[in-house]
Symmetry: C2
Subunit: 337 residues, 2 copies
């Protein structure tokens, strides 16, 4: 293998304690010894072994991230924010995708514990009791990202889904649309399911528009294919429709694609609003109007929170972050026509 602190100590004719003090900037050595040791370190190309450090310090400078699936673009953006902050703080990240599978999640939780991560960011998924108990027993700090819990004292950062869905729907209404449908993802989904539907309904009711079964289509997930399948079904049960609220940008892309093959022009014949503001939302044709979650920033915030808990050992407050509508070209304005 390569050199250890012992080699440095020997070559510099000092004790390992002194070397340790020097590389950690703890007092207790003279200018000359410092220089000598530093030079030896340089010569040898010595780098301290952080595994050994971790063992004694109980800090591994690693944080674990649990995500449902890696393929989802929204996850990618969260991770971007997370890795950014983590690396800026001299730590690194281990990402695990659970595929929303309880067994797998527990397995990864154990893995992360065994690897002694300093903290965990739990993303876009329900924090089940079993998970919480484990994390709690093992005393691993945790924060939730894009999900929440009423049951356990765990801080989170997310947008208010119902409110955001309300805003999206309201936006459509204010653009003069009356016949509005929704393609929702998995209704059972704790975080993105029912609350977005509720927001949609609430907006419709608030503006005294009828809302019934035919306005909805629920798919099994929040992906492209769900949108592709959803639109034809929705059009069939609700032919008068002029606008649709997609529960995610990926669903919206599916809708765009489906409309394209059905030769329905967006936004001339059909308006589409998405949810998330993925970075590719501006790349679609037409560019997608959507309700933005500040995804990268949310990742950053969650990371700062976990880091704060780790460093200060104190609780932090949950954060509801603001959403906003990003208007691009997929929604037609009916009001001034």
């Amino acid at each position: 293998m390569s050199f250890t602190i012992k080699d440095v100590a020997k070559k510099a004719n000092v004790s390992i304690a002194t070397v340790s003090r020097i590389i950690n900037n703890k007092p207790g050595y003279s200018k000359e010894t410092e220089e000598k040791v530093l030079q030896v370190i340089e010569e040898l190309g010595y780098h301290p072994n952080s595994i050994a450090r971790g063992l004694i310090n109980k800090r591994t400078h690693t944080i674990g991230v649990l995500v449902p699936k890696l393929s989802s673009m929204i996850i990618t953006e969260f991770i971007r924010g997370i890795e950014d902050i983590t690396h800026h703080n001299g730590s690194s990240v281990i990402v695990c995708h659970t595929e929303s599978n309880g067994k797998k999640t527990m397995k990864y939780l154990q893995l992360l514990y065994e690897k002694q991560v300093d903290g965990i960011i739990f993303v876009s998924e329900e924090l089940k009791e079993e998970y919480y108990q484990f994390i709690n027993r093992m005393k691993i700090p945790i924060v939730l990202l894009s999900t929440e819990t009423y049951q356990f004292p765990v801080p989170y950062v997310k947008v208010n889904d119902q409110h955001a869905a309300f805003s999206a729907t309201e936006f459509l209404i204010k653009k003069g649309h009356r016949n509005i449908g929704m393609v929702s993802g998995n209704k059972e989904d704790m975080v993105a399911g029912q609350s977005r539907i509720n927001g949609f309904m609430q907006a419709m009711k608030h503006y005294q528009l009828p809302v019934s079964e035919k306005h909805f289509v629920s798919e099994s997930g929040f992906g492209f294919d769900d949108g592709r399948n959803g639109l034809p079904r929705l059009m069939k049960q609700y032919p008068d429709i002029t606008a649709v609220f997609a529960a995610s940008d990926e669903i919206a892309f599916g809708i765009l694609s489906s409309a394209y093959t059905m030769k329905i022009n967006v936004p001339e014949q059909l308006s589409v609003i998405g949810y998330d503001n993925l970075s590719i939302a501006e790349m679609s044709i037409p560019p997608l109007t959507t309700v933005a979650q500040p995804l990268v920033e949310m990742g950053e915030m969650a990371t700062k929170m976990i880091l704060e808990i780790i460093n200060t050992n104190q609780k932090v407050e949950s954060k509801i972050v603001a959403h906003r509508i990003v208007e691009r070209e997929s929604v037609r304005d009916l009001t001034n026509e």
Copy 2:
């Protein structure tokens, strides 16, 4: 903190050596002790500390991945393959994005060494001498993904870029196109720059088509904006163009978007072929014809290779993987018209 092997040993009235043997399936204990110990482990919820294990075993079951930037979608797909195999092998991954910055790269290389990763996958970037020297001195196994080196004895997995670019161009030619342009990314890029241009030129020459300055436009990168900017420039210097080869799918999306705003119909007025076959290539409008690199599989292969090096301590062979054309709807067939 939580329980250690000592706690288990004490509670089970055995020595820590016995406990260790049991959790590692090494011989040397009776059925009864095993049961007793296993039960205590269960009761206590004991999990071995892999930091301590790593210290003594010199295996951390962690591999490091160095990528140029995280935002690029192609990287995301590589990582998907990498994480999959890694996790299936009971290891985990630390991803570092270097932003193609030498200083940062060295910093991360040190980080990965300090964290004692078992191996490194180096993605889509030139392996500079400085990097190699470091890795070599530290004796960290490495494999290259989507990049190669003639200078150092390091295995890689990639497609033959020039060949693939040739195929893409040839595809266009066989569809009856004669006036073909190319939007290339950064020409300086070791891996995706000149060789794709060469493949394009080679195909043009092979089919006796003229090729000159006006056929090319080079941008600073391989992203969406590069495509968006590239198309107008290309159209200006080469108005007769009927087809364009984009050096990446992201560039192709930019071209699609640019064509949309310029009211140029794809593929009726302009054909576009991309490069990569990102998973979103089928989501674009129109769905993108492209030369496919098997991205996820390439990530998987690189991971299997690094794992093999780590486990067997032997060299492995580099792999050139096959590309193929994925025909979708962005290229017009001029031959039977």
